[in-house]
């Protein structure tokens, strides 16, 4: 009997998780529970957070910070990338700065933000924007550059205004790159937001992780971590569905299906 490829893929993906859970459960038999809590305890805590409104609110707070940071970096990145795409001479001035930014660890930005700014939310927003800005800029710029010269000339032959050119050609051209950038930066920003919250916030997943560390509660730490992983997975799926709908014009080979 041959399995449906999707079902097979699901079993393959599940197999590694089952093995990991089994290994963890076995470890919980041999080590103290503050080091390896039983799987059922972790799952129970995870479910409890999801169904306990004040705790779920903490997850949503973190989600809001991620979205705000990503949106800020996306807008700023696009505002930098599109002029560079149109006037390539700017690139030699801006590129070194972006590469320099890329090399600075998120934790350094946390320290800088604490020293520079008052207000937790603005600090976190700043850290989120500054750490994801280079990636957004480079990805939007790459998408812009991949714009077809043929389509550009064809569109220009109708003599569009700058805004119309942006709307009918540039946006659809850079859209696939933007969606990829969101998918990649979502994972990055989920990691960065925890660091930012760990140091400077009074709420959110990072703050809760800090509390679990102080309580020496491994089950709680894992449950809060899982919330973040679940959030990333859910949003990734939403972006993929949006992507499939927006890019539905693409031809798909039957062999690739």
């Amino acid at each position: 009997m041959t399995l449906n490829p999707r079902v097979r893929q699901f079993f393959q993906a599940s197999a590694s998780i089952v093995v990991l859970l089994a290994a963890w459960q076995i470890a919980s038999f041999f080590f103290p529970h503050y080091l390896f809590p039983p799987v059922q305890d972790v799952l129970a805590r995870t479910v409890k957070i999801l169904f306990n409104w004040p705790e779920l609110l903490q997850v949503l707070e973190t989600a809001g910070r991620i979205f705000a940071g990503l949106a800020g970096a996306f807008v700023l990145g696009s505002l930098i990338a599109i002029p560079i795409g149109r006037y390539p001479k700017i690139e030699s001035y801006v590129n070194p700065f972006l590469i320099f930014l890329q090399g600075i660890p998120a934790l350094s930005w946390v320290i800088v933000a604490i020293i520079w700014f008052h207000g937790t939310e603005f600090r976190i927003f700043f850290i989120m924007v500054i750490t994801t800005l280079p990636a957004f800029t480079f990805q939007v710029l790459d998408s812009y550059r991949s714009m077809s010269k043929d389509l550009f000339e064809m569109t220009m032959s109708f003599r569009p205004s700058g805004w119309t050119l942006f709307r009918v050609l540039i946006v659809p051209t850079i859209l696939p790159g933007i969606l990829t950038a969101w998918k990649i930066n979502l994972g990055n920003s989920a990691r960065v937001v925890v660091v930012a919250e760990l140091v400077g916030a009074t709420g959110g997943v990072g703050y809760e992780l800090l509390r679990q560390q102080q309580l020496f509660d491994m089950a709680g730490a894992l449950a809060w971590t899982i919330q973040l992983v679940l959030f990333v997975l859910v949003v990734q799926q939403i972006i993929i569905r949006i992507e499939n709908w927006l890019l539905r014009y693409r031809a798909v080979s039957e062999r690739a299906a």
Partner: protein, 264 residues
């Protein structure tokens, strides 16, 4: 006599060499005129500067020296003046892959700020005239090469331009499809009383489409010119064809003719 619709006066276009070692001349002191309602086929070998002449005419590039005039205006400097006045059919269809056939035809009208509902009516009419009814919602990848090129012709005609510029529009199609589209194209241009410049490197295509044929030598200048009137469509056709072949073979290695020659 009325003013010609298109006029090239001693137009030269030079490009910088990619390695920075000077320039090369793509168009050399080119002069010609085109009257309203004419279909002029421009014939020449690959790399002879036909497409550069085309881009100059479309206002996409500026001449190094000389003057290009379309209805008395400079298509490069007065770029916006020509909104909706020049339609272009390119060598490849250049359809936007994210737009359906209908939306691709609507594009030009959308850029000209036409109402969406009105633009759709016009686009549907053109798709229908070109035999694409029922394919309005198909994306380009679902259409054959011939169908895609029909969509691109519909896109150019839909804006009702005064002048149509065609850069080897059927060269990537099979001969049967190309022949049908050529006939359709000539019928549409004549019916609407448009002026067209049709670039090709096929002698027969130039003779089928053009009221007048201009043969270019490299760098682009006229080496031969012939008018395809009724007489030349009969017995004279062979003579013109022979003459064009002779001119083109001269370029291949036997030197350039000193001056632009015969007008049949």
């Amino acid at each position: 006599m009325s003013e010609p619709l298109i006029r090239f006066r001693d137009v030269t276009k030079e490009f910088a060499r990619p390695d920075g070692a000077g320039t090369f001349t793509a168009v050399d002191r080119l002069s010609f005129t085109i009257e309203k309602g004419e279909i002029v086929a421009v014939l020449g070998k690959t790399g002879c500067g036909k497409s550069t002449m085309f881009n100059l005419l479309a206002g996409l590039i500026e001449p190094t020296s000389g003057k290009v005039e379309v209805t008395g205006h400079d298509p490069f400097r007065e770029f916006d003046f020509f909104r909706g006045k020049i339609g272009i059919v390119f060598q490849n269809d250049r359809l936007m892959p994210w737009r359906s056939a209908l939306d691709n035809v609507v594009l030009g009208l959308e850029i000209l700020d036409a109402k969406r509902s009105e633009a759709e009516v016009v686009a549907r009419r053109w798709l229908s005239r070109l035999g694409l009814s029922g394919h309005e919602n198909d994306y380009p990848h679902a259409l054959s090469g011939g169908m895609r090129q029909r969509v691109s012709i519909a896109r150019a005609f839909a804006v009702e331009p005064d002048i149509l510029l065609c850069d080897e529009p059927f060269s990537s199609l099979d001969e049967m499809t190309a022949r049908d589209l050529r006939a359709e194209f000539v019928r549409l241009v004549k019916q609407a009383g448009k002026t067209a410049v049709f670039i090709t490197h096929h002698i027969n295509e130039a003779m089928d489409v053009g009221d007048r044929i201009m043969v270019f030598h490299r760098p682009a200048r006229i080496a031969y010119e012939a008018r395809m009137d009724d007489a030349s469509k009969g017995a004279g056709r062979q003579a013109i064809q022979d003459e064009i072949l002779k001119v083109l073979s001269l370029e291949a290695g036997e030197g350039m003719p000193a001056i632009p020659v015969a007008v049949v």
